[in-house]
């Protein structure tokens, strides 16, 4: 396993390089730089500002300088958030985003697997159609619709039970308090719950028909052991290979969720940075996200091989 993991990590280096190069050059061929939109500065000062950020040098040289700094873990100063380096900003935002995303993926896996299994065990009955109908809704209704609607229902109208009013905060982070996390995590997890439950249902239905499950039943094993020990393990394989795309989906969703709920994570930095042309901040966030995706894909692949003895580390 270890040689395989090391080879994969080394293989990720060119991918990361391509990502960095693509982002860097795309942002630099853009008409208009980060210091254009403001009021006009005297030429000498403008020259000094550009020199301070190395913007007066040829693009290739800027790229080389950037790469050199990156190797030392220095992502450069933020162009728009003065007095902050990108590393500092990400150090503040990343734990928030990671916590949000991690909670969402756990919720999605747990709920998705449970719902999918329930649907498969009641195949073609009302429960099955109910769960799959909900899953279809979860897949088709986008995050940017569910987020405001849920915020409206739970955050503004509130729920009224037995004379008590229940309100969830419709925005803000509040240091990651549980109440503040419920809505964003739910919104972020919904599409993934839907997709995972569909995947699990599909593979579970197939596995339940397979010969070894029939054998297990014929041996007289109790139902729950057949389901949990025999069937579920095989039925989870598609879920494990879906984890990579799921994480990419969560990242995309987090841009929306962080913007709508006003959560100070790196997704919001990215949107703001892209609109403000804060090159270094955008680069930093993209590198951060890309590294995450690559790492988690690797974890998913290793998990897959551990779960399925037919797959060998090649």
């Amino acid at each position: 396993m270890w040689p395989y993991a090391i080879r994969r990590v080394l293989g990720a280096v060119p991918t990361l390089f391509i990502i960095i190069a693509l982002t860097f050059f795309m942002m630099h061929i853009a008409p208009g730089g980060p210091f254009d939109a403001q009021r006009h500065l005297p030429p000498e000062i403008e020259h000094n500002v550009r020199a301070a950020y190395n913007l007066d040098k040829p693009v290739w040289e800027q790229f080389a300088l950037y790469l050199g700094n990156l190797l030392h873990g220095d992502l450069g100063p933020s162009y728009k958030n003065h007095d902050f380096t990108v590393t500092q900003l990400i150090a503040v935002g990343l734990p928030v985003s990671a916590r949000l995303g991690f909670s969402a993926i756990i919720l999605a896996i747990v709920l998705g697997i449970s719902l999918g299994t329930i649907a498969a065990l009641n195949q073609n009955k009302a429960t099955d159609y109910g769960v799959m109908g909900l899953a279809m809704i979860g897949i088709t209704i986008p995050t940017f619709v569910t987020a405001p609607v849920l915020a409206l229902i739970f955050g503004i109208y509130g729920l009224h039970f037995f004379g008590y009013d229940f309100f969830l905060p419709a925005g803000g982070w509040n240091g990651g308090a549980l109440a503040n996390m419920i809505l964003p995590v739910t919104v972020l997890a919904l599409p993934q719950i839907a997709i995972i439950s569909r995947l699990v249902r599909g593979s579970m239905v197939e596995v339940l028909r397979s010969n070894y499950v029939r054998t297990a039943r014929a041996k007289g094993l109790p139902n729950h052991i057949v389901i949990f020990r025999h069937a579920l393990r095989a039925a989870l394989l598609p879920v494990v290979s879906y984890l990579g795309p799921a994480i990419a989906g969560l990242l995309t969703g987090s841009l929306i969720v962080e913007t709508i709920f006003g959560i100070p994570g790196i997704g919001r930095y990215f949107v703001e940075g892209a609109i403000n042309r804060d090159y270094t901040l955008v680069m930093g966030v993209v590198i951060c996200y890309a590294a995450f995706v690559i790492l988690l894909n690797l974890v998913a692949d290793i998990l897959y091989a551990l779960l399925d003895p037919r797959v060998r580390f090649a």
Binding site: A12, P14, T15, I18, I19, L22, T23, M26, M27, I29, A30, P31, M136, I137, I139, T140, I141, P142, F144, V145, A147, P148, V149, L152, I156, A248, L251, T252, L255, I256, T259, I260, F270, V271, A274, I275, R277, V282, V286, Y289, A290, V293, I294, N297
Partner: protein
């Protein structure tokens, strides 16, 4: 050049083949698709939405950019709530938006933009994906490995970020929106087509064609691509909603189409900002979009069942 006699004989055979009612894969699939109620309903609903988007703007009394300052964010006449500030009257069946524009016509213009982006960007991805996948699969060997490794690398890029950067860099050029989204979505298509091509390549008719001296690209065009169309058609119907979502996502963030032109993403973003006072501004665009996405998904599922030979 073929002898006239041969051509004649071929024509006769073809005519005869038409006399007998053929049951090709596609006729069969069509029959089964029509039997599938969810898919058929979806096709009808989608056609209605598309027809409305095309035709209604010609006859509707309000334009999508006409502003009525007396009716800002007014409810439609039939709105059940009692605590609305004002009612629009006239033909404003969906109410008014925050600038006093008729919401119904704006939702339909949103449909035009969203559907157009969906179809055109999907065609872009289709063109790139099918060509790429078929060439990689058919030629095989080193080239295949190289091409698919490239796809793998692109796969691990967080692509929506690149689209966002592109949109920012090129100032939200509408044409670029098509290209950018299409260029993102072709990867899966290429993988599917390559996989299919690999299995078709082994078939005798390809070998026969090759023995008859058909060149690589002619072979791909005439023999491989027509035979991979089944899974491709299914994937196309599932790509269109993804593209519509991607466009709305960008528009929602303010990076897609620009005011006064609109798309469902823009309308939903506006609706979100006014959902406390004017919930219709969120509900109608969201409803239209959800229904459209539902329809495409049902059609895709229906097509997959209809084209799956295992079900026969």
């Amino acid at each position: 050049m073929s002898a006239p006699g041969v051509t004649d004989r071929n024509t006769i055979t073809i005519e005869r083949a038409f006399d007998i009612e053929g049951r090709s894969l596609w006729t069969d699939a069509r029959r089964r698709l029509v039997k599938n109620k969810a898919a058929l309903t979806s096709i009808i609903v989608l056609s209605i939405i598309a027809l409305m988007a095309i035709a209604v703007p010609f006859v509707w009394p309000y334009g999508y950019a006409d502003i009525d300052y007396g009716n800002i964010a007014c409810a439609p006449d039939w709105w059940p709530g009692v605590d609305v500030t004002c009612r629009a009257g006239g033909y404003h069946i969906f109410g008014m938006d925050q600038n006093g524009r008729d919401l119904f016509i704006r939702v339909l213009y949103g449909a035009r933009v969203s559907l157009a982006v969906g179809v055109v960007a999907t065609l872009v991805s289709l063109l790139i994906g099918v060509t790429y996948g078929a060439v990689a699969g058919f030629v095989g060997g080193r080239l295949d490995e190289l091409m698919m490794r490239f796809v793998d690398v692109l796969y691990s890029l967080p692509f929506i970020f690149f689209v966002i950067i592109l949109m920012v860099v090129f100032n939200q050029n509408f044409f670029l929106l098509f290209v950018a989204i299409g260029a993102v979505e072709w990867l899966t298509m290429a993988r599917i087509v390559r996989g299919q091509t690999l299995s078709i390549k082994q078939k005798e008719f390809i070998e026969a064609a090759r023995a008859a001296g058909v060149g690589t690209f002619a072979n791909i065009r005439h023999h491989v691509i027509p035979n991979v169309l089944g899974p491709v058609v299914v994937y196309v119907t599932l790509t269109i909603p993804t593209v519509i979502l991607a466009e709305s996502f960008l528009s929602f963030l303010g990076l897609g189409v620009q005011d006064p032109l609109t798309s469902w993403g823009v309308l939903i973003a506006d609706g979100k900002d006014h959902m406390e006072t004017a919930p219709w501004m969120l509900i109608f665009p969201a409803l239209f979009m959800a229904v459209t996405l539902f329809c495409f998904n049902f059609i895709g599922d229906g097509l997959r069942d209809a084209l799956d030979p295992k079900d026969r």
